[in-house]
């Protein structure tokens, strides 16, 4: 069980309190009806699935309830940094740990 630092609680909390929410920074188009079928399909279904650092959404659902983002290394399963929803992705080195 991982410990995940919730950027709202400012505390490391057990993974059991969290729910995973898929890739982060996939913004919903401001005007969905103006998108092409391909653009919309890309938004709905296509994700980066990197080997290495991955920005992803988590929710501290059984804690403060907030959604936030985490950079996790998909090779080592280590969470490098967490940050609040709406904040820019922090600079991280792209190396695989």
């Amino acid at each position: 069980m991982l410990l995940i630092r919730c950027p709202y609680c400012e505390m490391e909390r057990p993974e059991l309190e969290f729910r995973y929410g898929g890739e982060a920074h996939v913004a919903r188009p401001l005007d969905p009806m103006a998108t092409s079928d391909d653009e919309w399909a890309d938004y709905l279904y296509f994700r980066s699935n990197p080997r290495g650092l991955h920005a992803e959404r988590w929710r501290h659902i059984n804690g403060c309830g907030r959604f936030f983002n985490a950079i996790r290394d998909t090779v080592s399963d280590k969470i490098v940094v967490t940050y609040k929803a709406g904040e820019a992705r922090p600079a991280t080195t792209g190396e695989i740990a």
């Binding site: 069980m1 991982l2 005007d31 079928d37 919309w40 929710r59 709406g86």
Partner: protein, 998 residues
């Protein structure tokens, strides 16, 4: 012949003089307090403790610890209290212990399965693979007709009990600054250092007593004291530290991410009387720092006949002697590649055991060892190998031959009743490896040792390759200081420690043409030949060899065998050991009971059983219940003599004739509040909300972004800034999560807040033409009249004097109300409604009647008519989609090409030609009565019931282009023949919908 192998004077041992009675395989024996089952059996001269897995060869105890592969026993403590596959070396003796050997029939001494031993070729390496992967037909036939029956009967380890386990298993999370795994010399030193730092320390060891090898160390002294006295003083000091939790009988069996370590504590297995509390405790420890002090395991030597009872690890014999006062034989031969076995020989000789010879595989054993042996009058044979052993159920002789170069001389046969072997020591790097650390091969030392730390841990002592006692103590102490952030070196003075040189891996030199079986993995019966055969048949990596031969895959995970297997494979391949690789060390280190993993999560406490405030009334009134997620819901209310069918029919008929009362409390409820509440609802639901007036309700449809229906429910507007949203029973948490997701991440500027009120309200639905009459006397502050409170409206007032939200809604097609009252009042208000209802012959109805009545009306149930691929249009619910809305979640997807394509499945009704036939839900639908195979179905039945209102069966279905097929005849193929059905509209009762407006 009671305890004839117990030494006379046991005062230096760990056993007391108190005798204990026990039974093994039906024979009564006597042992001592402090014994293990293995030591007590050995005290009685019993070596034969099991039969091997595949060949059913007689096997004796090999070791004295957790690594034991052979002496697996079942301990029985009464009904349901049978634990198989326990290592006799770890089973603590108590008065009345009853144990039995495993894997033998009809008895341990005469085992019919031993025929497999003669048919050895049959079970050689790759047996399982060859059998499974052989030519398809032959393989299947061979497997099902020949191999499977034999293997099932013959193979396998202990049997399990079929009764429920009455014991209690507890689980606790705990946290500490320093976790020390392993209570030997290194661990003790670490605990002393960490304890002094004042940090919160957990110190655990698998055995009943802390001390590890110090418990049987009779020669060495530490700081001027005999090792055992030093140990006693150290433990006494540790007990004075309130910050150190000493956890004996506790195995650290799994090391997980971020220093999460799982410990299994045996609380009661050593007690004659089981306590009321836990038998075992599973501790899930989060440690800031970990010290791994797990020691090393002695390696067997691989020679023909090395599995005969009486052949055992050398140091084990010393443990039995010094710790338990037990001689493992009266005339022993030592075969060793390592110095440590000389201590064994000396201690045994001093205890009066005849040490017939020390066969040392090394050409030049260290001079110091030779001097010690000579002084004790012991014969040393250098450059030795073992050609074979003799004896049926116990070793009676060993053939020792000298090796010159590659030539093995003719053997000299030496009579003996025990052979004590040592191939050297394998550091226990299991926990380190589980921590994701990479072990490193040290060619000079011929060992895998821990490499860099991946987590906050450090190894100390023998598990790190340090074998001199002084090094072990210093390293342990340093590790304890480092882990607790303390500093200040401590010196240890050690004398009388044994030699630490030597070691070999792989098989010993063979006599040409030797036919004897030389075992590598005792528990899985894997021989040196099997591993060589695996290589010969193309296996290149140890991972292949392991799976092909099953070496290392038994319950002991190859603790005594992996390195020998690896060396044999490497030798055959002509590669170095790291090139062949090392298999993964998986959790658990030793087997853990299912009880420990289950903990209290079983029976009534497995899952929360959610009950509504009205549940107790339903129970008292004979309801049958069904599980809806983790809710218990009243399913139907059978009267005397009624089956489900009759009860549901009566409930439906009476609800439509008069009224039915239904517990709808499980419906999800969310209070959506804020100035932007309507704007938020516009985004999350397909329907328009801006113009819905306070006091009115609307059926809401929720889509995911892909355009598929995920939930629905009636939504009431309580005020300009407040909505009372209802969701499906199962969808409540999901919908709230979905709403929070959009609110927090996509529409964070909206001023609106969400609160779950599912459990705030008990909900009593009253449905039927008499509904208004029934509730009217209980309601105050609300004008219930048709005009004042029309269908799809909500009013706040009081019911039975308590604040209530009363909705006029219907899920039956009849006039209906849903009374929401604060949950604690639910049962009381229900009783009042029931009392009023009785005046009109109203019924209480359950979820089954609810389903039937809604199906009669063609109302969908999300999850029954939908499966995550269904759009509003597929369901005929386009009327619920706000066409003028610019955006809502899922809207864009509704015009994707696949969503508007011809041939999508649409909701229709089905009527069987035979009105008595009730279709099966989930049944497929075809155009032809005998559809050719490999043609696609047109759709499937989603709901099917006998309709009391129509007096015939009805069904709902999703059918390709269903709305264009009205009146067509389609077929539902079933094993008994295709059932003809006519496609009709999905609304069977009151299609105009007049009754809800009564």
């Amino acid at each position: 012949m009671s305890e004839s192998f117990r030494i006379a004077d046991t005062k230096d041992s760990r056993v007391s003089g108190r005798p204990l009675r026990f039974v093994f395989d039906g024979i009564a024996y006597q042992g001592r307090e402090g014994d293990t089952l293995a030591s007590a059996l050995l005290a009685n001269g019993v070596h034969l403790m099991g039969r091997s897995y595949k060949y059913h060869r007689p096997r004796g105890v090999l070791s004295a610890g957790a690594e034991e592969p052979n002496a697996l026993v079942a301990v029985t403590r009464g009904p349901g209290r049978m634990t198989p596959n326990l290592r006799a070396t770890q089973v603590e003796l108590f008065d009345g212990l009853t144990a039995s050997s495993q894997n033998n029939w009809p008895s341990l001494a005469f085992d019919a399965g031993a025929i497999n031993d003669l048919a050895g070729k049959f079970f050689s390496a790759g047996f399982y693979y060859k059998t499974f992967m052989g030519p398809k037909v032959a393989g299947n036939w061979l497997w099902t007709k020949v191999f499977e029956p034999i293997v099932r009967q013959a193979a396998g380890l202990g049997a399990r009990t079929t009764e429920p386990d009455p014991d209690r298993y507890a689980q606790f999370y705990t946290h500490c600054d320093v976790l020390i795994c392993g209570g030997g010399a290194a661990g003790i030193a670490a605990a002393l250092a960490a304890g002094k730092s004042g940090k919160d320390v957990i110190f655990c060891d698998e055995q009943a007593e802390f001390g590890g090898s110090l418990l049987h160390e009779g020669t060495a002294s530490i700081d001027g004291k005999p090792a055992r006295d030093w140990l006693a003083d150290a433990l006494a000091e540790l007990r004075t530290f309130s910050n150190v939790r000493l956890m004996p009988r506790t195995q650290a069996f799994g090391y997980y991410a971020q220093n999460f370590v799982a410990l299994s504590e045996r609380v009661a297995d050593h007690l004659a009387e089981a306590p009321n509390g836990a038998r075992e405790r599973l501790w899930q420890v989060r440690a800031k720092e970990v010290v791994i002090a797990t020691g090393a395991i002695e390696r067997p030597l691989v020679f023909p006949g090395n599995d005969r009872p009486g052949v055992m690890l050398a140091e084990a014999a010393r443990i039995y002697l010094n710790r338990y006062g037990v001689k493992v034989g009266s005339r022993v031969v030592i075969v060793t590649a390592h110095d440590s076995a000389y201590r064994v020989a000396l201690d045994l000789a001093a205890a009066g055991v005849v040490v017939a010879a020390i066969a040392d595989t090394r050409a030049n054993p260290p001079v110091a060892r030779l001097i010690e042996a000579k002084a004790a009058g012991l014969r040393v044979i250098p450059s030795a190998t073992v050609t074979d052993t003799k004896g049926r159920l116990r070793v009676s002789g060993i053939g020792i031959a000298a090796v010159s170069g590659v030539v093995v001389d003719a053997p000299e046969w030496v009579a003996c009743d025990a052979v004590l072997m040592s191939g050297g020591w394998t550091p226990s790097v299991h926990l380190y490896s589980q921590s994701r650390g990479k072990v490193v091969w040290h060619e000079d030392r011929q060992m895998f040792l821990p490499g860099a730390s991946v987590q906050a841990e450090r190894s100390a002592g023998a598990c790190k390759g340090s074998f001199a006692l002084v090094d072990i103590l210093i390293e342990g102490y340093r590790a304890g200081e480092e882990a607790s952030g303390a500093s200040g070196l401590r010196a240890f003075a050690v004398s009388g420690d044994a030699g630490i040189e030597g070691g070999t891996m792989g098989r010993l030199p063979l006599l040409p043409g030797s036919k004897g079986k030389a075992f590598v993995d005792f528990q899985n019966d894997v021989k040196a030949d099997d591993i060589e055969l695996a290589v010969q048949e193309g296996m290149r990596s140890i991972e292949h060899v392991k799976r092909y031969t099953t070496t290392g895959m038994a319950t002991d995970q190859g603790k005594t065998s992996n390195l020998n297997a690896l060396a044999i494979a490497a030798g055959k391949l002509g590669k170095s050991i790291p090139q062949v690789g090392l298999t993964t060390f998986r959790q658990p280190y030793t087997p853990v009971t299912f009880g420990a993993f289950a903990g209290a999560n079983r029976g009534d406490l497995f899952d929360p059983v959610r009950q509504t405030p009205i549940h107790s009334w339903a129970e008292e009134n004979g309801a049958a219940f069904e599980d809806v997620g983790i809710w218990k819901r009243a399913w139907y209310f059978p009267r005397q003599g009624e089956d489900m069918h009759a009860a549901v029919k009566r409930e439906c008929q009476q609800a439509r004739a008069s009224a039915g009362i239904f517990d709808a409390s499980t419906l999800g409820k969310i209070e959506v509040v804020g100035p932007d509440a309507a704007a938020f609802m516009e985004k999350l639901y397909t329907n328009p909300w801006a113009k819905l007036e306070p006091g009115r309700c609307r059926y809401g449809l929720m889509l995911n972004e892909a355009g598929f229906v995920i939930d629905d429910g009636v939504i009431a507007r309580m005020g300009d800034d407040r909505f009372h949203v209802t969701t499906t029973t199962g969808g409540a948490p999901r919908v709230l999560h979905h709403m929070e997701d959009y609110l927090q991440t996509e529409f964070p500027d909206l001023k609106v807040w969400l609160t779950s009120t599912t459990e705030q309200w008990a909900v009593i639905a009253v449905q039927g033409p008499k509904a208004r009459d029934i509730i009217a006397p209980l309601v105050t502050g609300i004008d219930l009249s048709k005009d004042a409170m029309p269908h799809m409206s909500i009013r706040e007032g009081k019911v039975c004097g308590v604040p209530a939200r009363v909705m006029r809604v219907s899920f039956t097609g009849e006039l209906g109300y849903e009374i929401n009252v604060p949950a604690d009042y639910g049962r009381s208000v229900w009783e009042a409604v029931w009392a009023e209802g009785r005046k009109y012959n109203a019924v209480a109805y359950g979820t089954e009647a609810m389903h039937v009545m809604r199906a009669e009306k063609g109302y969908i149930i999300v999850g029954q008519e939908t499966d995550g691929t269904v759009t509003p249009d597929d369901l005929g619910l386009n009327w619920a989609v706000g066409k003028a809305k610019k955006d809502f979640v899922g809207k864009r997807s509704l015009i994707r090409p696949d969503m508007v394509v011809e041939g999508r499945k649409q909701l229709v009704g089905l009527l069987t030609d035979n009105p008595a036939t009730v279709l099966e839900e989930g049944a497929q639908i075809t155009a032809a009565s005998a559809a050719p195979t490999r043609t696609s179905a047109l759709g499937h039945v989603t709901s099917s019931y006998e309709s009391p209102a129509l007096g015939r069966s009805i069904a709902l279905a999703l059918v390709a282009d269903g709305r264009k097929r009205m009146g067509e005849t389609l077929y539902v193929p079933m094993p008994g023949g295709a059932i003809a059905v006519k496609v009709v509209g999905p609304v069977f009762v009151d299609p105009k919908g007049d009754r809800v407006n009564e």
